[in-house]
Amino acid sequence: MLLKTLLARLASMVITLFGVAVVVFVIIRVAPGDPIAMMLPPGASDADVERLRALYGLDRSMPEQFLIWLGGVLQGDFGTSISLRQPVAGLVLGRLPATLELSALALVIALVLGGFLAIFGARHRATPLEAGVDLTNGAALSVPDFLWGLVLILLFGVLWPVLEISGRVSPRLDLPFATQFYLVESILRLRFDLTADLLSHMIMPALALALPLAAIIAQLLKQSLKEVLNLDYVTLARVRGYSELRVILREGLRNAALPTLTLVGVQFTFLIGGTVIVERLFSYEGLGNMAIDAVINRDLPLIQGIVLLFAVIFILVNLAVDLTYSLLNPRLRHG
C-alpha cells in the first residue's frame, strides 16, 4: 500500500515539476528585464545587442528556447549561467548543501524551542506562565525572519559581538572538506574547531529563520497537548501517580505531535523559501543568496535551475511528511 502511494506520488511529482518548469520558463521571460540590456556597455549598437542575444540563444522563439532547454534538462544539462558562466546544475547543486544545513539547523532550533515552549505552556496551563508563553509566541510570530536577523545582528554582532555577522565559514580557515556539507563533515571528521566556526556563522541566520516557526510549533503543540491532557487515558496515568511532566512527555506528546508534524512539514518548505532573504542578509553562501543575484542579473538559466530545485525540495519534503505521518498514525498505516 505504502509502495503504491509512493509510486503515485512520484508520478505526480514529475507532472508537477513539468508544470513548474513551464510556468517559470514563461514567467521569467515575460517579466520585465532583459538580460542583454543589463549587460549593454556604453556605446553598444543594435548590432551588438543582436550579437549578444544570439550568443545566449535569446534570439529564438520562446517555444523553441523551451524545447532546447527541456532537451538539455532531460540529459542533465540545465544550461549555462549567463552571469557566472558555469553549468547551472553544478552551481545549484554546489550551493544546495549550504542551504540544507542552514534549514536543518533552523528546523532543529525551531523544534527544540517550540517544543520547550509548548510543554512549558501545557505544564503551566491556565496560569500567568501560559500567558507569558502566548506572549512570547506572539512576538516571535509577528516579527518577520529578516527583521529578527537585523535584531540578532545588533545584539550578537555589534553590542555583544560573539557571533559572526556574515559568511558561512571564516576566510582564514583552510577547509579540508570533500563535500559541501561542511557542518556534517566537520562533525564526522571530529574537527570541532571547524564545527564551532561554522556554528558561529550559522546560529544567527538559523535562529532568525527558526523563531517564527518555533512560535507556530509552540502554539499548535501546546493546544494539542492541552486537548490530549484532558483525555481519559491521560487521567489514568495521573491516577497511577505519574508526575505531570512525565504525563505530558510519555503519554500526551506522542498523540499531540501528529498535527504538529504535518504543520512542520508545510512550514519547513516556507522556511526554505525564507532562506532567500535571510541568506542575503547574512551573506551566507547558499541557494537563496544565489537566487537573488540571479534575479538581479536576469540570469534566466540560473533562475530556472534554482526554482526547479526548490520545487523538487518542496515536493520531497511534503512527500516525506506524508510518509512519516502514515507511519506514525496507525489508522493510516493500516487503512
Binding site: L40, P41, P42, G43, L154, G157, G167, S170, R172
Partner: protein, 513 residues
C-alpha cells in the same frame, strides 16, 4: 527539591559552557584582525574571474576587485588621470592610421612566468572576438593586425576612435596571460586566475569571500598589506555591523546617516569624496517633453542643493551638465539656476499653471541608488508648486535597461550614469546620441551636433566640441542632470585609505596609518 537543584545546576553549567564557547568564537574574530589580515566588507559579489566577458565585465563596482588581481593596459590614477601601467607609452602615428604601444619590461605573472608583448596582443585580439562574449567587442575591434618588435607593438586603426586608449583603463581593458589561459582554458582560468596585479588570488568562495595575498614581485612595488580578505556583504545594514563590530576594517556604500554616525565613533574614520557617478533624469522626446518650455520649467523648478542637503546630508555635488568637475569636458561656465518663478512663467507661456498643470509620468528605481525614490518624490513636490503634476512609476533597474534600450522610457526617468574614464563620449556622448541604445532623446539637431565628434582627431577641438554640445543640451534642456554622487567609505582609524574617483575600492591603495 533535590531534583530542582540538579536541574538548576545543569542549566547553569549548560549556560556557562555555551557562553564560554560564544566568547571563544568572538575572540577568534578579534585575533584574526590582529594577525594583519586586512578585511574589507565589499558591497557586491564577484560572479566571474573573466574581466572581459559577461555582465560582471561591465559592472563598474566589481572593477576594484579585478584591478587588485589584473592590471589594465594603462593605469588610471585616483584622480582619473592616466599613467604608465603595463603599457609605458602609447599613441597614434601622424595620420592616425596606426597605433603603437610600448610594453613594460621585467613584469611577471603570478605564476612567475614573464609578461610580454604577446600577452597584450592576445588580450586585445581576444576581447575583439565576438565569440568570446565580450560585450565591448565593438571597441576592441577598432584596432588590429598587430605586429611585435621587441617590447613595441604596432597595430592598424580599423576605425578611428579617439578614446581607444582611455578604454584601456576602463571596462574589459585588462591584460590576461596568453600562455596560461591557452593552457588551462576558460574553466581552468575561472578556477585559478592569475594576473600581474598587486595581489594574487589565494582562495575564492563565490558569494562569500575572496582571500588575496600580496604579490611581492609587483612591478609597482609590493602592497602594504600581506593578506586581504574581501567579504561579499551585499546588505548595507550587515556592512555597517561588520565595520562597527570590528569584523571588517573597511567598508563602503552605506547610508549617509550611518556614515555620519560611524565616523564619530572612536577607532573609526571615513572618506566621503565625489566619484564618477551622477544622478540624472532622462527626458524622452515624446508627448509634453517636445515642449521646450515644459522641459526648461521642469529643470528650473528643481532645487538640487536642497535635495543634497536634506536627503543626502550634504553628500553630493549639484550638476548642470552630464560632466563632473573631474571629467575632461567639464565646463564650469555652464550653469542652470533654480528659479521657480521662471518655471511658472515658462509653463504659463505654454498654457499651464498650478490650476491647469502639465501632466506626465516619471519613472524611478527605489533603493537602487541612495534615496532615489525620495529624491523623485521631492522633485515631484517642487514641480507641483509651479504647475507640473507628475505621476511616479517605480520600476526595477532591469526594467529601466529594457525600456531604455527599446526607447520606451516614460517622458521622464531617473537614472544614474557612471563614467570612470572621464571622457565626454562615455557620458554625454552615449547618453545623448540618438542612435545609441542608451539614449532616449533622439532629435536630429542633437544627433547632427554630436556625430562629427566621434571621429574628431584634434583632441582640443574634440573636447571643446563636447563642451559646446553640453551647453546646447543645457539650453534646450534635453536632459536634467541632478548631482554627482559621493561615495562613503568607513574604515578603521589605523588604516589609511586613498579613495579612487572611479569608485573602485582598491586594497593596494590602503596602508597602515
Amino acid at each position: 527539591m533535590t531534583q530542582t537543584r540538579r536541574a538548576f545546576l545543569q542549566t547553569g553549567i549548560g549556560l556557562g559552557v555555551g557562553l564560554s564557547a560564544l566568547g571563544k568564537l568572538g575572540l577568534s574574530a578579534a585575533v584574526a584582525q590582529e594577525s594583519g589580515d586586512l578585511t574589507i566588507a565589499y558591497n557586491v559579489n564577484l560572479p566571474s574571474w573573466d574581466p572581459t566577458t559577461g555582465p560582471s565585465a561591465v559592472n563598474p563596482t566589481i572593477q576594484g576587485i579585478y584591478q587588485s588581481v589584473f592590471d589594465q593596459f594603462i593605469l588610471q590614477k585616483p584622480d582619473l588621470t592616466f599613467d604608465a601601467g603595463l603599457l609605458t607609452e602609447w599613441g597614434w602615428n601622424e595620420d592616425k592610421t596606426q597605433v603603437f604601444m610600448v610594453v613594460r619590461e621585467g613584469v611577471t605573472w603570478h605564476d612567475g612566468s614573464p609578461f610580454s608583448a604577446e600577452d597584450v596582443v592576445f588580450s586585445l585580439e581576444r576581447a575583439a572576438k565576438p565569440e568570446t562574449g565580450s560585450p565591448m567587442q565593438f571597441v576592441w575591434s577598432k584596432i588590429g593586425n598587430f605586429t611585435i618588435e621587441g617590447n613595441r607593438i604596432t597595430g592598424d586603426v580599423i576605425e578611428y576612435d579617439p578614446t581607444i586608449f582611455k578604454w584601456m583603463s576602463f571596462l574589459t581593458g585588462y591584460v590576461l596571460p596568453k600562455a596560461y589561459y591557452e593552457e588551462v582554458g576558460p574553466e581552468g582560468f575561472e578556477a585559478a586566475p592569475i594576473g600581474t596585479g598587486p595581489y594574487k588570488v589565494d582562495r575564492f568562495e563565490r558569494n562569500a569571500y575572496l582571500r588575496l595575498v600580496a604579490n611581492p614581485d609587483y612591478w609597482g612595488g609590493a602592497p602594504a598589506f600581506e593578506t586581504v580578505t574581501i567579504k561579499f556583504v551585499t546588505d548595507a545594514a550587515s556592512r555597517v555591523a561588520e565595520v562597527e563590530s570590528g569584523n571588517s576594517l573597511v567598508t563602503l556604500e552605506i547610508p549617509y546617516e550611518e556614515y555620519d554616525r560611524l565616523v564619530e565613533k572612536e577607532g573609526l574614520t571615513g572618506e566621503a569624496h565625489p566619484v564618477s557617478d551622477i544622478g540624472m533624469i532622462f527626458l524622452n522626446d515624446i508627448d509634453v517633453m517636445l515642449d521646450k518650455n515644459v522641459r526648461l520649467a521642469a529643470h528650473h523648478a528643481i532645487d538640487k542643493q536642497l535635495i543634497i542637503d536634506r536627503l543626502l546630508r550634504g553628500y553630493g555635488v549639484p550638476l548642470a551638465t552630464l560632466e563632473t568637475p573631474e571629467y575632461a569636458a567639464y565646463d564650469p561656465s555652464i550653469t542652470f539656476e533654480h528659479d521657480p518663478e521662471k518655471a511658472k512663467e515658462l509653463l504659463a507661456a505654454s498654457g499651464y499653471s498650478t490650476d491647469n498643470p502639465v501632466r506626465f509620468t516619471i519613472q524611478t528605481t527605489r533603493g537602487f541608488k541612495p534615496k532615489d525614490y525620495e529624491m523623485i518624490q521631492a522633485i515631484v513636490g517642487m514641480w507641483r508648486k509651479v504647475g507640473i503634476e507628475a505621476e511616479i512609476e517605480v520600476y526595477e533597474i532591469a526594467k529601466h535597461y529594457e525600456l531604455r534600450a527599446a526607447d520606451q522610457l516614460a517622458p521622464a526617468a531617473f537614472y544614474n550614469w557612471g563614467n570612470s574614464v572621464g571622457d565626454p563620449t562615455t557620458s554625454t556622448g552615449f547618453a545623448m546620441f540618438g542612435p545609441s541604445p542608451h539614449s532616449v532623446w533622439d532629435s536630429e539637431d542633437l544627433v547632427a551636433k554630436i556625430a562629427p565628434l566621434w571621429a574628431e582627431q584634434d583632441e582640443e577641438k574634440r573636447i571643446q566640441g563636447w563642451k559646446d554640445v553640453s551647453r546646447y543640451i543645457a539650453e534646450e534642456c534635453y536632459v536634467i542632470p541632478l548631482l554627482q554622487y559621493v561615495q562613503p567609505i568607513v574604515h578603521d582609524a589605523g588604516i589609511s585609505v586613498v579613495p579612487h574617483a572611479s569608485g573602485a575600492l582598491l586594497p593596494a591603495l590602503m596602508t597602515p596609518a
